[in-house]
């Protein structure tokens, strides 16, 4: 451990400056030298490559094809390295030298004791090393390629070249069979860039029915195409593809997803309606149906309320102008809105809370919480009573809160409810300890006193006496209780 520590410290001291700042002149000089070397070695590689390219890149395909664009970029990339004026390649290659170097310092110095390894090997060495080696087999090959360049590359070679960002003409893959082999080869190579390139080629050269049919059995490629269409925003084709493949794959949700791209509410509603029929799982189908119903409701409510607000007929809208439209809001938000603006409406109207609760089977807990929050916000304390009152079959009424009265109190308190209101609900908290805590916290003296009285806790009661105001009604009350208690114990 101590050794590791020492190493570590040494490492931090030695590498701090090298890795992150470049103020050591010697070091920088050597780095620059190295990057220059890297540039040179790069040029070698690319120049070699260039020979290769010039001879093979002709394939006679129409301008505007992908292969044309690839070729175009490739030739421009070579010219960039040749042009003396441009400092771009210099910058980029010196970058290449830096990051690896930083890691080379730190990693190697972390493992001291094995300093035999070339710890200060710079990337440029490594780059030229591996570079030459990895390109070597290709440099040997061209002789054969010159002869029959236009058709000799196997799908495998083509994909491999593309992976290395080189020029490849895909046009020579004419038959469907060839194209599919090429696609499978690209998929096997796992490089999304190449897979997409091949897909673009197939999309352009195959009828979409055939393409889609083949993709159905090639899931990876299918996913890439879907992703590609999503990215490029080709809605029409994407939806065609999705609807075709729906049966074989669980892509219903991808189709449903498209509603997000529809801004117009009416159109969005129509689209959602169309989604209901899709083969979703039972639960999903239920949610999609609810989504549709909700939006339908919101459209009705919105039209109504906007009118009410504009004409100023309704007092509540005058007093509390709406901050935003209710369209596309979640269900609970809609319920809150409805409890805020339409609380007293009968269950028959679409905008009433009761109707929402029934239509969407909103659980009691959720409903009470939302209604409570909305009414509290309006400071409509009188509505609360009804919210918690339940009648049993004998006709007795009872106060009940599915969320527990301690939560009711919290919410009321957050909405600055007056002490009398708070007190009423603190009293209903069943657990004695919680009730005492809440009552003490929110200064509901009456509740505290009564609770201690019921507990016959003289000591706490006496202690609490100091917390109430001198000469107040509460103090009197405590005194009288204390006296009574004395008498009852004395007798």
């Amino acid at each position: 451990m101590s050794r590791a520590r020492a190493d570590e410290e040494e490492y931090w001291h030695s590498s701090k400056f090298r890795a992150f700042t470049f103020d050591d002149e010697d070091d920088e000089l050597s780095q620059l030298k190295e990057s220059k070397r890297a540039v040179n070695s790069l040029r070698d590689i690319v120049d070699d490559d260039d020979d290769d390219l010039e001879k093979v890149s002709w394939s006679g395909e129409p301008v505007g094809s992908i292969s044309w664009s690839i070729k175009e970029t490739a030739s421009s990339s070579t010219s960039s390295l040749e042009s003396r004026d441009s400092s771009l390649p210099k910058v980029s290659s010196s970058y290449t030298a830096l990051p690896k170097q930083a890691s080379s310092y730190s990693l190697s110095s972390l493992f001291k004791g094995r300093s035999k390894l070339p710890s200060f090997q710079s990337l440029s060495d490594a780059l030229s090393d591996t570079g030459v080696k990895s390109y070597a087999p290709e440099l040997r090959r061209p002789k054969a390629e010159y002869k029959d360049y236009s058709s000799d590359w196997s799908p495998k070679d083509t994909v491999r070249r593309m992976q290395r960002g080189k020029v490849c003409s895909l046009e020579r893959f004419r038959s469907l069979q060839d194209k599919l082999v090429l696609l499978d080869e690209a998929v096997a190579g796992n490089d999304g860039n190449v897979i997409t390139a091949v897909l673009i080629f197939l999309k352009r050269t195959l009828r979409k029915e055939i393409l889609f049919r083949e993709l159905e059995v090639r899931q990876v490629a299918l996913c890439h195409l879907i992703h590609f269409l999503k990215e490029t925003g080709e809605q029409k084709l994407l939806l065609d593809l999705l609807s075709l493949c729906l049966s074989s794959l669980s892509l219903q949700l991808s189709q449903y997803r498209e509603h997000l791209n529809i801004q117009d509410v009416e159109k969005r509603r129509e689209f959602l309606k169309g989604c209901i029929g899709l083969p979703f799982s039972a639960e999903d189908a239920c949610h999609i149906q609810d989504h549709y119903t909700l939006l339908e409701r919101q459209i009705i409510i919105e039209a109504n309320d906007r009118h009410l607000e504009k004409t100023g007929q309704s007092e509540i809208f005058r007093k509390y102008p709406r901050k935003a439209s209710i369209l596309n809001m979640p269900l609970v938000t809609t319920l809150f809105y409805s409890c805020f603006y339409h609380y007293t409406e009968a269950e028959g109207t679409f905008s009433s809370p009761a109707n929402l609760k029934k239509t969407f089977k909103i659980p009691d807990k959720q409903y009470v919480l939302t209604a409570l929050a909305a009414r509290a916000k309006l400071r409509a304390w009188n509505d609360l009573d009804a919210l918690f009152t339940t009648k049993n079959w004998l006709g007795y009424t009872k106060k009940k809160a599915p969320i527990g009265f301690h939560r009711v109190v919290e919410i009321l308190q957050r909405n600055n409810a007056p002490v009398q209101v708070l007190q009423e609900y603190v009293r209903l908290v069943e657990d004695v300890e919680t009730r005492l805590n809440l009552a003490t916290k929110y200064k509901c003296h009456d509740v505290v006193i009564d609770t201690y009285r019921d507990l016959k806790d003289r000591i706490q009661l006496a202690a609490y006496r100091c917390k109430v105001e001198r000469g107040s009604a509460e103090e009197e009350k405590i005194d009288s209780i204390l006296n009574n208690m004395v008498r009852s114990t004395a007798s």
């Binding site: 470049f22 992908i66 664009s69 990339s77 970058y95 972390l110 080696k133 949700l253 909700l294 979640p330």
Partner: protein, 568 residues
């Protein structure tokens, strides 16, 4: 020349090249990429540094189209793709009719970026999502390429172990790349003895839990990006009078965090509960050191004192910063909600009440806590129960959709696809067996002087790191049964080395293992591996590589469906 940066790239690039360096390469101006006309600058060349993303191509198109044609001299445009050129993007530019405006189009392949002495990251944000939701394994291809580059620099790694589907893929690709370039065999003495490829999919649990190391908490609360963190400025206000006491700084305070800072190196991987004592100890040492000046009598002594001053002052400001950060974090960790949340997490991880609807989660939904927090908890419960009972799952789903919006069904579906959320189909809960065999839950955790990796989550030992630990000793054969319960294959591959390069191990010399987390790694996991590296009798040192540094929030976020349309 001027550089126009994709803002996302400035972070990673900041780690490897500073402005001063760019300046030496005649970079005059730097801008961030945004729509509209490019700012005026008297430069000949304008270089765009961008990720290959279509939405960025649109901005570039906009930039180029608005360029004033009449101005002289004309500016030349270049584009540099990081980490690589994309045919798709170029096609896109061509369709917009601007492809021809670019004189050079290049790629800068930045596979693995060094984040610290023992940490490399690809910063591929969506690697996990791409692999598991989109069946797109491009990031694995890049990981394999990065590993090949690493081997070119540090020698062929003789042993490869792996667990998980993606791990298998990467190993296959590496073997294939090696076969395709037989010349790539190099003669470098290998630094690494072992490569361990771990698929995030194998351990979905760990990132969901709240990290409790110092660095982990900073990341959970404020988010560390490319080693930088932005903090609320209030606690960093200058203390001196007259230093502008009235106008408090409003800009967030930006700090770099890495092991180059002595104090941070010491505390970053500690459990947060152990950080306070270190800080106060340091404070005492520093004030004692400052006190020394009173004892300095001779000129020599004074001279010596003065020579130490810069170091002491640096130590003092570092201490001040971390004390402030610790205070900020403490405000949060001592809050009631943090405590409740952590209690529920720990209950789940130790296997308590994982099969029914949790009250706390319900309450959080009712109070509309951030959706990501809810999702983290529900997923954690699901993973700790090998899937939720259908009724429980349906209940959560309904509550979430009703409260946060039905469109989140897409996100829930993504989470199900990734295996983070599922219904218990087989009817068997494997988690207790896995937990017991791998000793994932430790009751007697020592946060101050840890003796086990479980200290990083105050009780929970990250599964991924346990796998690494058990691989080193006694080997995976001892846990075959559990390995079979975890998803994906486990495997071992050997890469033959020429005899000259084979190692003869000195007695007491540590083995070095490179652990590559495919799909992301958390700071707490890194801390646990560093802890293992430092163990006296551990025998193994770890270097960590990953596709991305993550925490539960960023990870779940990457899996969420983007519901807002792109702003451009």
């Amino acid at each position: 020349q001027a550089i126009v940066w994709d803002e996302y790239l400035t972070g990673p690039f900041g780690l490897i090249a500073q402005y001063s360096l760019l300046k030496e390469h005649e970079v005059e101006k730097m801008f961030t990429l945004k729509p509209g006309r490019l700012p005026q600058a008297d430069v000949k060349n304008v270089i765009f540094f961008v990720r290959p993303r279509l939405e960025l191509m649109d901005i570039i198109t906009d930039n180029v189209l608005r360029e004033d044609r009449g101005r002289a001299p004309q500016r030349d445009f270049h584009i540099l793709f990081v980490p690589r050129r994309s045919l798709l993007c170029e096609q896109w530019l061509k369709e917009q009719g601007v492809l021809g405006s670019f004189i050079h189009r290049e790629q800068y392949s930045l596979d693995l970026i060094p984040f610290d002495g023992d940490l490399l990251s690809m910063e591929a944000e969506s690697a996990f999502k791409e692999c598991y939701l989109e069946s797109d394994q491009t990031s694995l291809y890049h990981a394999a390429k990065g590993l090949m580059t690493l081997q070119a620099l540090y020698g062929t790694i003789p042993q490869i172990f792996g667990k998980g589907e993606c791990a298998r893929h990467v190993a296959n690709m590496m073997i294939r790349m090696k076969r395709e370039f037989p010349g790539s065999q190099n003669s470098i003495f290998p630094v690494f003895d072992t490569l361990l490829l771990l698929d995030r999919n194998v351990d979905l649990l760990t990132p969901l839990a709240t990290q409790l190391t110092y660095e982990g908490l900073i990341d959970e609360i404020y988010g560390i990006q490319n080693t930088y963190v932005k903090l609320p400025p209030e606690k960093f206000a200058p203390k001196k009078q007259g230093d502008g006491g009235k106008d408090l700084p409003t800009e967030p305070k930006k700090l770099q965090l890495n092991s180059a800072e002595e104090l941070y190196a010491e505390i970053r991987d500690k459990n947060f509960n152990a950080v306070g004592s270190v800080l106060s100890k340091k404070a005492k040492i520093i004030s004692a050191a400052f006190e020394e000046r009173h004892h300095a009598k001779t000129v020599g002594e004074i001279k010596q004192f003065v020579s130490q001053l810069p170091h002491m002052q640096a130590a003092r400001s570092s201490l001040a910063n971390h004390t402030s950060i610790a205070e900020l974090i403490k405000d949060i960790t001592t809050s009631e909600d943090f405590f409740d949340n952590l209690t529920v997490e720990q209950e789940f991880m130790s296997g308590i009440d994982t099969d029914k609807v949790n009250n706390y989660i319900e309450d959080c939904i009712a109070q509309k806590h951030p959706l990501i927090k809810i999702l983290r908890l529900v997923c954690l419960q699901s993973v700790c129960n090998s899937g939720l009972k259908q009724k429980v799952l349906d209940h959560y789903k309904k509550e979430i959709l009703q409260t946060y919006g039905y469109e989140h069904i897409l996100t829930l579906n993504n989470l199900e696809k990734a295996g983070l959320l599922k219904s218990q189909t087989s009817g068997r809960n494997n988690y207790p067996t896995i937990r017991k065999t791998l000793r994932l839950w430790m009751d007697d955790v020592n946060e101050q002087n840890p003796n086990d990796i479980s200290y990083v989550y105050s009780g929970y030992a990250p599964l991924s790191v346990r796998l690494a630990q058990l691989l080193a000793r006694p080997g995976w054969r001892s846990i075959e049964e559990v390995l079979k319960m975890l998803p994906g294959p486990h495997f071992e591959e050997r890469q033959q080395l020429p005899t000259g390069l084979q190692k003869k191990r000195q007695h007491g010399e540590n083995r070095v293992t490179l652990v590559f987390f495919l799909g992301g790694v958390t700071y707490a996991e890194i801390a646990a591996l560093r802890f293992l590296s430092q163990m006296e009798d551990g025998g193994t040192e770890y270097v960590i590589a990953t596709t991305k540094l993550i925490n539960g929030t960023t990870w779940v976020k990457s899996l969420m469906e983007k519901l807002e349309p792109a702003p451009f």
